[in-house]
Amino acid sequence: MHFDSYDTAGFFDEMFDAQARPRPETALLAGKLDALSPTELRARQIAAERALLTRGITFSVYGDAAGTEKIFPFDIIPRVIPGSDWQHIERGLKQRVHALNLFIADIYGERRIVRAGIVPESLVASAASYLPACTGMKPPKGIFCHVVGTDLVRDRDGQFYVLEDNLRCPSGVSYVLENRQVMKRTFPQVFERLRVRPVDIYPSKLLETLQNVSPTASPTVVVLTPGVHNSAYFEHSFLAQQMGVELVEGRDLVVRDGRVHMRTTRGFQRVDVIYRRIDDSFLDPKVFRPDSMLGVPGLMDVYRAGRVALANAPGTGIADDKVVYCYVPKMIEYYLGEKAILPNVPTYRCEDPKERAYVLENIADLVVKAANESGGYGMLVGPQASADAREDFKKRIEARPREYIAQPMLGLSRVPTIVDDAVEGRHVDLRPYVLYGDDIFVLPGGLTRVALRRGSCVVNSSQGGGSKDTWVLADTETPPNPSGGQSQSQSHIKINGSGA
């Protein structure tokens, strides 16, 4: 009954095909949902939200004096990804992260790709996230980007595209793990029968990834957080707890005798690997921002001497730059001699006079993004923006063209989402998590972020986004026959899609 008036027109729907029938891998789930009355569905949604609140899975709201914490809005209808699609994503991400790591090493090293004329020198030098202080640094085992969260979107054609790479401090993985805990209680039978791949292995894999780069055997690993007032504090604390390591703040760490130590109740204890969740510029006030209270004076000296490992390595942000992003397919060809498996979204670089002219002309149809921002900040969604906002962005682009890129408005895929007492399609993206250790590991799952406002494609939590659990199915075999125990409810599904 929820799907009687469900509209699939105009976009790729993750649950229903173009003929408005449940996809083979989602039929079981669609049947289960359809069998629930609106009251039951609502009750399960409320129970899930309550579980997240009492478990304290919250983020702080900036600028709120009372220290209000909110849960990250969560929708209990999961997004299902069949095994075959996932294999494609996994191969694509491994290839991409491999090439990005080679690129970062190259930029702070020999700069072969610049000399080969593939990436312009000026692009690197002008990137806000480029750190000249890191030139010549060689992190342990040559790994710069230990933890990567790459945002993928699915366009109307059902094809996955890379929207952006996050190689600094990608967050959100704690929600993946906690959402899963809640979902196992919400739909246990469907979960079991669909053979959803587990995500709980992430903390152990992360710990292995961190231990892998330690300068010593049996290392002491810590998570470095900006502190309890940071919006991602829950995640920092959660990951430290799940890995069984200390969560430290900058003031807990000191440099003495050429090594990093933490201050404990029985004196100083050496630290070998720091999973830092603070930005490069705050790491060491002696090298970067002198006003940083979050970092550790002298840390970079110890790092240079190879006596402490930092994950991710300082300087990694160069690969986050949205103009550098445009060159990733070329990097993959240059370093690996392969074609990119996951394509980029077509992107206009405002720096280029011809492309800039196109962007200024067609700004009403484009999405404009600041090259060095993330989290949905510094962004203009042309078709939805006011004339004033468009004019404002035009001026900004003309003043500082290097700092902007533009992309066509994508038709992000949709997933059925509970909206009051009905179920409606809402646009989603997908952030899988990649760990670069001995090997490159892609967590089978990821954070499906959903734009809860009707028609919106902005999924960031700071801009009215929520999340869903992502169910990656175990293999490509035919999923369980939906005409089994669920047959009666199946036959009730009718959809008023356009059928296009």
């Binding site: 478990r55 304290g56 504090y233 604390s237 807990d252 404990t264 109740t265 029985r266 004076p297």
Partner: protein, 335 residues
């Protein structure tokens, strides 16, 4: 464990205990007020018990029932109000969520949300007994949850030590203030006995029933003995300091009867004195003077605990052989 973490756990525990003690003596005074509508209950001494008289006088003026209640329960500006204590306990807990059990976090979170809700309605002050009972229960649940869900390692001992030092301090203050009011002169001992007031004093330390079993009839000197020196009653000063000392030694690994820092030395000395003290000596010296001295020494212990375990030590060149480096490692410490 990290100094910052030890500090947060110690204070988390102290603040929960403090909220409970404030609820205790406010509640008992409310009951007295019902028994003595003609001013038998005095409100000013409650403020003295938390040591905030000056601030109260400046902000509220008259020590009326409503003013004192507001000041000690829901006033965010008052550092020792129940709401401030629980907010601080929760802030500390939040900064060590990966160390404490999730049940502990949920309990302290619940206690805080409960008081926040109560602050929004007048109900809490109208049916205040229920409210103060809830605060006490929330604290008891927290203590029980801590005992049952957290490994009894170094961090647990910091929590217990904080709680017991706080309890010893508050219990002695309650005794001091009440005793001072009831018997201003040491020479008055053994004169008029107001059983209700003494009963109230015992009740505010949940000591009434246990006292009856131990001593039967209420006499001032037996009340002093029970609250200061009883070996088995878990809120007596002696009991608290004895267990606090054990936790302190569990943390450092030094055996009881020896000391490796100022906190161990002072706490050991205090415990020895309490173990061999007699009530008549205490009364002869003057209870107020005795408790005053006790509190100064407790402050010294707290300060030493801070210096030894929590203080952010200087970064630059230190002697390679630090005092506490020579301590044996604890089998229970996290590494």
């Amino acid at each position: 464990m990290l100094s910052r973490v030890a500090d947060a756990i110690y204070w988390m525990s102290r603040y929960v205990e403090r909220a409970e003690n404030v609820a205790r003596f406010v509640d008992v005074n409310l009951h007295l007020a019902l028994d003595f509508p003609e001013g038998g209950a005095q409100w000013e001494p409650l403020v003295a018990t938390t040591g905030d008289s000056e601030m109260f006088a400046k902000r509220y003026g008259e020590a009326s029932r409503d003013n004192v209640l507001q000041f000690l329960t829901f006033d965010r500006e008052s550092p020792n109000s129940i709401i401030s204590c629980l907010a601080l306990a929760r802030e500390n807990a939040r900064s060590v969520r990966e160390i404490i059990s999730s049940e502990m976090w949920e309990q302290v979170n619940y206690a805080y949300l409960m008081v926040m809700d109560a602050a929004k309605s007048r109900m809490a002050l109208e049916s205040s007994h229920d409210f103060f009972t809830q605060v006490k229960q929330a604290s008891h649940l927290f203590v029980g949850t801590t005992y049952l869900t957290m490994s009894h390692t170094e961090s647990w001992h910091f929590a217990r030590m904080g709680r017991l030092l706080e309890r010893a301090d508050k219990t002695s203050r309650i005794l001091d203030v009440k005793y001072f009011l009831l018997l201003p002169q040491p020479t008055d001992v053994g004169t008029t006995l107001d059983a209700l007031h003494w009963g109230a004093l015992l009740r505010s330390a949940s000591a009434f029933e246990m006292y009856r079993k131990r001593h039967g009839g209420i006499t001032p000197s037996k009340v002093v003995e029970f609250i200061m020196l009883d070996r088995k009653f878990p809120r007596s000063v002696r009991y608290c300091l004895n267990k606090a000392e054990r936790s302190l030694h569990a943390i450092t690994g030094a055996s009881l009867g020896t000391w490796t820092n100022g906190a161990e030395r002072e706490l050991g000395r205090l415990n020895a004195e309490l173990s061999y003290a007699e009530t008549k000596e205490i009364l002869a010296r003057g209870l107020h003077e005795y408790i005053d001295d006790l509190q100064q020494r407790l402050n010294f212990v707290s300060q030493s605990v801070f210096d030894v375990f929590f203080a952010m030590k200087p970064v630059e060149p230190e002697e390679p052989q630090q005092e506490r480096r020579s301590l044996p490692p604890l089998a229970t410490s996290r590494s």
